[in-house]
Subunit: 332 residues, 4 copies
Amino acid sequence: MSASRKSNNDTPRPESGIQRRLLNEAQEAEVREQRESRTATRRATVPALEEILYEPLPVLDHGFVRVVDYMGDDAAIVQAARVSYGKGTKQTRGDMALIDYLLRHRHTTPFEMCEIKFHVKLPIFVARQWIRHRTANVNEYSARYSVLDREFYIPAPEHLAAQSQANRQGRGEVLEGAQAARVLEILREDSARTYEHYEEMLNQREDGSIIDEDQPGLARELARMNLPLNIYTQWYWKCDLHNLLHFLSLRADPHAQYEIRAYADAMLETVKRWVPATYESFAKNAMDGARLSGPALKIVRRLLAGEAVVQEDSGLSKREWAELMTALGREA
Amino acid sequence: MSASRKSNNDTPRPESGIQRRLLNEAQEAEVREQRESRTATRRATVPALEEILYEPLPVLDHGFVRVVDYMGDDAAIVQAARVSYGKGTKQTRGDMALIDYLLRHRHTTPFEMCEIKFHVKLPIFVARQWIRHRTANVNEYSARYSVLDREFYIPAPEHLAAQSQANRQGRGEVLEGAQAARVLEILREDSARTYEHYEEMLNQREDGSIIDEDQPGLARELARMNLPLNIYTQWYWKCDLHNLLHFLSLRADPHAQYEIRAYADAMLETVKRWVPATYESFAKNAMDGARLSGPALKIVRRLLAGEAVVQEDSGLSKREWAELMTALGREA
Amino acid sequence: MSASRKSNNDTPRPESGIQRRLLNEAQEAEVREQRESRTATRRATVPALEEILYEPLPVLDHGFVRVVDYMGDDAAIVQAARVSYGKGTKQTRGDMALIDYLLRHRHTTPFEMCEIKFHVKLPIFVARQWIRHRTANVNEYSARYSVLDREFYIPAPEHLAAQSQANRQGRGEVLEGAQAARVLEILREDSARTYEHYEEMLNQREDGSIIDEDQPGLARELARMNLPLNIYTQWYWKCDLHNLLHFLSLRADPHAQYEIRAYADAMLETVKRWVPATYESFAKNAMDGARLSGPALKIVRRLLAGEAVVQEDSGLSKREWAELMTALGREA
Amino acid sequence: MSASRKSNNDTPRPESGIQRRLLNEAQEAEVREQRESRTATRRATVPALEEILYEPLPVLDHGFVRVVDYMGDDAAIVQAARVSYGKGTKQTRGDMALIDYLLRHRHTTPFEMCEIKFHVKLPIFVARQWIRHRTANVNEYSARYSVLDREFYIPAPEHLAAQSQANRQGRGEVLEGAQAARVLEILREDSARTYEHYEEMLNQREDGSIIDEDQPGLARELARMNLPLNIYTQWYWKCDLHNLLHFLSLRADPHAQYEIRAYADAMLETVKRWVPATYESFAKNAMDGARLSGPALKIVRRLLAGEAVVQEDSGLSKREWAELMTALGREA
């Protein structure tokens, strides 16, 4: 368990004295079976990723991410690049340097040669953010076809943040005391009540038993509409490495909503195991770097020339100025 | 208003004596302004579509579809095909026949040359089905950024169907009496209660006023998770004609859930106004036609040769046999 | 070597007494190494596909297709479908029947859960048809960066067909005698001459040696423009199973140009090894089946009712009538 | 005609005393007709773009780009963003500032709400680079179906550059004297000869007349393979604004091959007319800006703190160091 992922998931939940269960019994048996089987393959194989293959990595209170398949490795990127760039490439650069060069210069197609498939369990409001990334393949659990489990995301107290005053889509201070308690109470009670009503409308309990044998149940495709956005769903999600990195650069970003960031952080850890050279280059360039506009670059040059520049005569807006000062590690 | 679209939306709602309002005041003013403005253009223009441009077409109880922009027409498809197929095409076929040929033989790229943009208001559970079609551009209202309106989809009584026993993802008989009343009561009460709690957690009423000046509100990105899947959202959705027809062939199909079909039917009407030749060919080939497998074609041949074929010696499964009989207009 | 693929590639070439060489020495060594290595994996593995992994399957005179990686198998499709459709599915259907149901009813997303990567060597005019399918990942050899090999597609005599008179994009009778000889002479001579000029402009021979040490060579990105469309290029091409089947349904079709069909046929054989249940369903439904329009279905009903229908009173165009008669196995 | 586009196309060609003709007679008549027609529309209209609608903008020696349709304008981006971000947005920012904010922060979906369609005539080797961008719709002239025109790209003398020694995919000094003359001679002669052979194999002249009435012609789909990569093709190419800007950021870049850059420059001019606010933001951020990696940002901070940093102790490779110095306007 890496530090960075853990940081989003490490809070002991007051309400759970025991280790929460991520999978039901049937799923646990399936994972055990998948993890025990070993076959010989001629394909590129990544031992560090095989180690955690199929294993659910916990995210939020009931969610998880688990890698269920993958194709390719760092070497597959190099191999694809060498088809493109031919013999010349081989002599001049090591694999790590080539990967870094490709990533830095937006030669993205070699990174599309690797593919990974995740099984994810996540609240519906997170799923709705996630699905806006269209360059992936998805199979989601269908609530037209089957009954959803009684599992809801209830934020840990330290994530119950107030609306930010500075940023319309951000969070401010953590709520405390009675107000926090009231929010948790609402979320718990409405989750419980809407699920009971879901069962009542379906005329069927979560365990599959019928409530009233003398009447039919409402169609599942209708009954589900009463469920709130914090209920958990699950899906298989498959993506190539280039598009995965793009997803992660947006969703592991501090501006992303905490709940989706928790998933992105868990996935970053799997990327680190899978393609360590790519991960390192991505961290260096995409995560730790910054894009500077033409006018911002001009200001850096003026600063380097010893000029004292202030926002007012910089030609940048206040917001742009603040962003630049942050990138340069200065007070805004 | 066409017959087919109307058929999904024409039921007088007992609860609404007056015409429901689709847009708020600001939106109505915007539509009026958009509809009044006229400019001259050199672009291809379709008068029948201009007629309803910007106008909301009602769908379900609070939803709508309205065309807000379009590019191209039937002639643009022909023009693109003639770039591909060159001079030869011109002599041998009229425009209508060429469009029909292209559609029948899956020459899909000319249909991608037309584009349409819709503004849609729809319940979230419908939006979640819809978004599985990835070949479109979408901008959805953000509940991280703004507060959702208090509008929920409550099915009309005639759409309150029981779970089908034959088809795991279908509907059976319409519920009646006390059971129907109870379902509507649940949906209405849970919608109202969860929205009130949403306001309470936000510490802000729908009209924007603050409830308790002495405390902050929960972040919007968190508070929304308490809302149920029948709340309305809205988006701009832009798609090319080929991918739109694919969407409609799946979603205007009798197997699609009624609620999304109501949108697909409304959109079909706009397609009919926009590209009438394409619409006619699509109706004939995609909507009224059927795909027969190799074994099914063999059975048709045997039947035509006068042989009496029954399912048991057909080589088809019961389900395949039933599908074939339906296509042939015979009793299964 | 399967019958169907072979049929497109089995003609002994008069000009080649010996087995042609598909790979250069370095590539052969690489393939040998790849095929010899074996590692243990927890991933789904397909022995029948592993058998031919990395091995070049010959296509045309210098081309090949080889599978270099894959993800998933028939069971992965079932697994993804069961995430979507939940528990209910398991009881009612075997895997093969489920796959057939999904394919027949256009539930395409589970097929996107499998991925395959090919290394292909192909003439540029074939590559240009191929690349029109955009739902794949591609890394092509770059002639900006490296020098192309001296390899050109010269059709076998039995493929030197005349322009079809009936079909503007089809082939008619095979050319014979002096005319065929002249075509081959032109293709051979122009290939040889343009390649010599390519070397002259580059000031560099195919083996990398400099021609005239005292002058520079023309930039590779310019010199390549003198090469004809029958020169060979190569690429890595990665695609999910759903989009691969769509590609194959268009390119393994009798209406496709022979040269790309030869590649599609070779790829079909790899699909058969990889996902045999999917292959069988695809062959039955997509390859052997036919789509009938609404009016065509009405005619079948009239025929089944014993009516004698002729084209003139069928409401179908001559072309549609001919297509229907073909599907029904009747004389047009 | 803007300065930037002109700079790539302004060289008087020694061989053409008169203005070259971009379109044939039929095409010119079509353009005249398209430009003369005016209809009233309720859609958003952009007068500055209407001015040049349908008009071919010359690129290279026989190529052109012309805008044949468009959807949306700067205001459509703002409108889509305001659906997403709701009421709050309106008060706090002007349209131009909002567009700049969206572009800077990679909120790309609003830019997908605008669409443009080009008709382009271009050499095949340029078309092959271009088509690697898959997020567009394309209809290309089919040489299976029709006969290609006798038009070849022959570089202007000042573009006949030597292979760069420093950059494997770049150009060095311009070739001169006898060597340049020889290259032009090769390109002209091979173009002429291969086209004559194309006609001979087709048994048909460019004007459509048959050469030898007593024999058939080779199938067009085969004969085309003798043509070189500098022959012109044409296509309709349709793209949304976000993907167009991505294309232009790669292809109007100094590292792009001159020939495709000439097209990108012409298209940039049309973007400037179409969506001037977006163009301005794109120029400022994407074209004039630079991405700095984490380690590069650290060096800037050290430099700003007055430290003298040299490449050797920077932690950057020589290439990264050179790239950073360029961005900072310093000697490497």
